[in-house]
Amino acid sequence: MLQVKNLTKIYDGGVKALDNVSFEVPDGQFLAVIGLSGSGKSTLLRCINRLIDPTEGQILWDGEDITAASPEEMRRIRRKIGMVFQHFNLVHRSKVITNVLAGRLGYVNPAWSLLNRFSKEDMEKAVKQLERVGIADKANQRADELSGGQQQRVGIARALMQDPKMILADEPVASLDPVLAHSIMKHLEEINKKDGVTVLCSLHFLDLVHRYADRVIALNQGQLVFEGSPRDIDDKKFKDIYGRDAERVG
């Protein structure tokens, strides 16, 4: 269970990205986070694995206080939280397999990383994850030789290498065409349903939300403006979330 309590983030420039946000995510849920660009979705997700340090508030995960974790504890927490990014964030010049293996770094002793050494089990595991997302044949290509959809699959394989209990997906399909978007979302859904991994996924398109999410939270200017089932988003709620002039597309 992930509990977010009164989370507030104020950036150095004084921008209030999150304003007293509180919600809970039970284990194994697929939670969609929606809202306009700049509403604080990315900040929220990054606060959960402390890529961004929140200004105030608390995040508890299975009772452990993430916001108060020491660097050593943070390493142990982060390796259980996979993350998938809008722009994939692969290391372009490295091979696909190396990118996937990087997901294991939270477990590997840093001294061995100096030698660029992964154990045999990790190598096998990496190939297995690539098979799972259907691009095992690309293992030895450079990451930037892959198409967008393939790169995002590598991103998912990297997250899977972590044996995650939770995956944070920051607009994972915003840079992909609709067909690819569905195939990527299906991978996330499968991981969520089959492995019981909690997924927090920020999304732009409501039809994707309806199709894949168990529950939705919506942010507007850093504030939590909606929490509930995707079916409950009617026109009025929609205008609350996206502003009065917004029109539904797709």
């Binding site: 390796r79 939280i81 990087a102 840093p110």
Partner: protein, 611 residues
């Protein structure tokens, strides 16, 4: 109306700017003493022509010479009876001279005609005093030039040497025989240009190796997020000097312990073969590749102990390796013959290994202890109550401040030899302690300090300061430190390479894509792992490119570093210019041009291929 005014104002501004520009350039002309009059003066033009012509004939190729002399007798003055019968008829089959008249008084002119000489040659024509035709003493400074048929005719003024015996006029012909060969100067140039290229190579290599790790701590984007609480900072500041002292002492002791063992080549061989295995297995046990559970404290302690022993064994192995290299090099130097430089190389490498091992040990121990104490500090400030952390901070910060300023004071004492210990040591210690106390008193005990930015600023400052000192100036210092020669030049170029590459490299690190960095951090990788897996792959191509560029610069620099005694071809060039030996200097200039141009070409080809 308003527009008009502004346009007038603009014209005035423009006019003023033009005037200012004129003024600047006029002053520039004055300062740089632009003077074309000098260029037009006849004296200048003559010497310029002479030097240019000499430069156009580089001293590069020579031939073996074969000299032949052709003598022809004559009387000076004419004998009293005018009997010239003592003069034999010339052998017209070979080269011969005909002198008319065959006798003359001093100061008179005779006509000398030569036949059957080699065509189109120049040779000296001399008067040989005394009756001996093989006399080496000759008079005169004229020369003859034969035509296409090997014939010449010239007039010769008889010098003031009188004798009753027939004297001689001699023409010396020298002919090139055999194939052309390089002059001594060409060979020297070749030697020195090789020296130059390798000087640049070694300087670039050493510079790159050292600049690589430094470039990461001089990159703002990596260092900005490094923050730690005061307890941790103070403890690691204390850890560095203590650790370095301890490390140096311990490794030196190992060295002393090793020396008697290192003389025997069999002990060497066994140690060098065995220690890596011990080290490898110990490290593999002590540092498991992956660890899911948190190990128990006793296991952790045992691991630390094993690791420590493994490292001691490794240093023992290093010393033995150095000993082995020395022994081998001494043994094989004679057997290698002209490849003896390989043995010398081995010997020097072993010497370097022996010198840097204690330094390495000191650095490693300092780093480890500082790191360990830093972690300890982190824990102390996390697990204890604020008031207790504050007290700890006050004590530790005072100690750390005292240590840092005390060490700085000791440096000042060594540099300026003030000799008053109370000012150069105790005063800084007190000030440092005071500053530490102030820092601890005015910061929140659990707040983190921007340690990364402090380290970044210090590194950047040192690098920028050193970078502004030209390699040529550094070479002067190193010439004093290690003596005249290419080694001094290499050291100077190497140091300059380090500081310039640190700047260039770290700018590359600062411009990497932040996405992968974020992604790798999110997997739980620590800072070192993030650098290895997210930063290094992104910066390798520009690093290669900059290294090549630097090698290029180093080759160019090393051609002139000899001017200040730094070895390489510059030494030769300067010598020849000072001796006004422009033909030799020309050879060296051509060599430099060829090397620099081909380096330019090679590096551009390689850059295109790999980047």
């Amino acid at each position: 109306m308003k527009e008009k005014k502004s346009s007038a104002w603009k014209s005035i501004q423009f006019g003023l700017a033009v005037l200012l520009g004129l003024f600047v350039y006029a002053y520039g002309f004055d300062v740089t003493k632009v003077n074309l009059e000098e260029l037009r003066s006849e004296r200048r033009q003559q010497s310029l022509t002479r030097v240019t012509r000499t430069l156009a004939q580089p001293d590069l190729i020579t031939y073996d010479k074969q000299e032949a002399i052709v003598n022809s007798p004559l009387y000076v003055p004419c004998p009293a009876d005018n009997n010239l019968s003592a003069i034999p008829a010339a052998d017209t089959a070979a080269a011969y001279l005909a002198i008319t008249p065959a006798c003359a008084n001093p100061g008179e002119t005779v006509q000398v005609e030569g036949f059957n000489f080699p065509p189109n040659i120049i040779g000296p024509i001399r008067f040989v005093p005394g009756s001996d035709p093989l006399n080496v003493v000759t008079l005169g400074r004229e020369s003859i030039k034969t035509d296409g048929d090997g014939h010449f005719i010239t007039s010769f003024v008889i010098p003031d040497r009188i004798s009753e015996e027939p004297q001689h006029i001699r023409v010396t012909i020298s002919e090139n025989v055999g194939s052309p060969r390089f002059t001594q100067n060409a060979k020297d140039t070749w030697d020195k240009i090789i020296e130059t290229v390798f000087m640049a190579l070694l300087a670039t290599t050493a510079g790159t190796i050292l600049a690589f790790p430094l470039s990461f701590i001089a990159a703002r984007n990596l260092m900005k997020s490094v923050r730690s609480p005061l307890t941790s900072v103070a403890l690691s500041v204390l850890g560095w000097p203590i650790g370095m002292g301890l490390g140096y002492y311990i490794v030196n002791q190992i060295g002393i312990f090793t020396i008697p063992l290192a003389e025997n080549i069999f002990t060497n061989l066994i140690s060098v073969a065995v220690t890596p295995f011990i080290f490898w297995y110990a490290v593999r046990w002590a540092l498991p590749q992956e660890e899911i559970k948190i190990p128990s404290p006793s296991l952790r302690l045992t691991r630390l102990l094993v690791l420590f022993i493994a490292i001691l064994v490794a240093f023992f192995g290093f010393f033995q390796l150095a000993g082995l290299a020395t022994n081998i090099s001494l043994g094989i130097e004679k057997a290698l013959g002209s490849f003896g430089f390989l043995a010398t190389f081995l010997f020097q490498v072993s010497d370097i290994l022996r010198i840097i091992t204690p330094a390495l040990g000191a650095l490693a121990a300092g780093g480890t202890l500082a790191n360990f104490l830093g972690h300890l500090g982190q824990r102390i400030s996390e697990k204890n109550a604020t008031a207790r952390v504050k007290t700890t901070n006050l004590i530790l910060a005072a100690l750390a401040g005292a240590t840092v300023l005390g060490l700085l004071g000791a440096l000042v004492e060594w540099l300026y030899q003030v000799g008053q210990f109370e000012y150069t040591f105790w005063a800084p210690v007190l000030i440092g302690a005071g500053l530490g106390l102030l820092l601890a008193a005015f910061t929140q005990p659990k707040d983190t300090l921007p340690t990364g930015m402090v380290v970044y600023s210090i590194t950047r400052t040192i690098v920028n300061a050193l970078r502004s000192v030209e390699a040529l100036v550094m070479a002067i210092v190193f010439v004093i430190a290690v003596g005249i020669g290419p080694f001094a030049g290499m050291m100077a170029l190497g140091l300059h390479t380090i500081v310039s590459l640190v700047k260039l490299y770290s700018e590359q690190v600062e411009s990497i894509m932040p996405g992968p960095l974020e992604a790798i951090t999110a997997t739980g990788a620590n800072r070192l792992q993030t650098i290895i897996y997210a930063v290094i792959p992104q910066v390798i191509p520009p690093y290669i490119s900059y290294t090549m560029y630097r090698w290029d610069i180093n080759v160019r620099m090393s051609t002139i570093i000899g001017f200040v005694g730094g070895g390489g071809i510059g030494f030769l060039l300067q010598q020849n210019i000072n001796l006004l030996n422009y033909r030799a200097a020309s050879t060296q200039m051509i060599a430099i041009a060829i090397v620099v141009a081909s380096m330019d070409y090679i590096s551009s080809v390689l850059r295109e291929k790999y980047v």
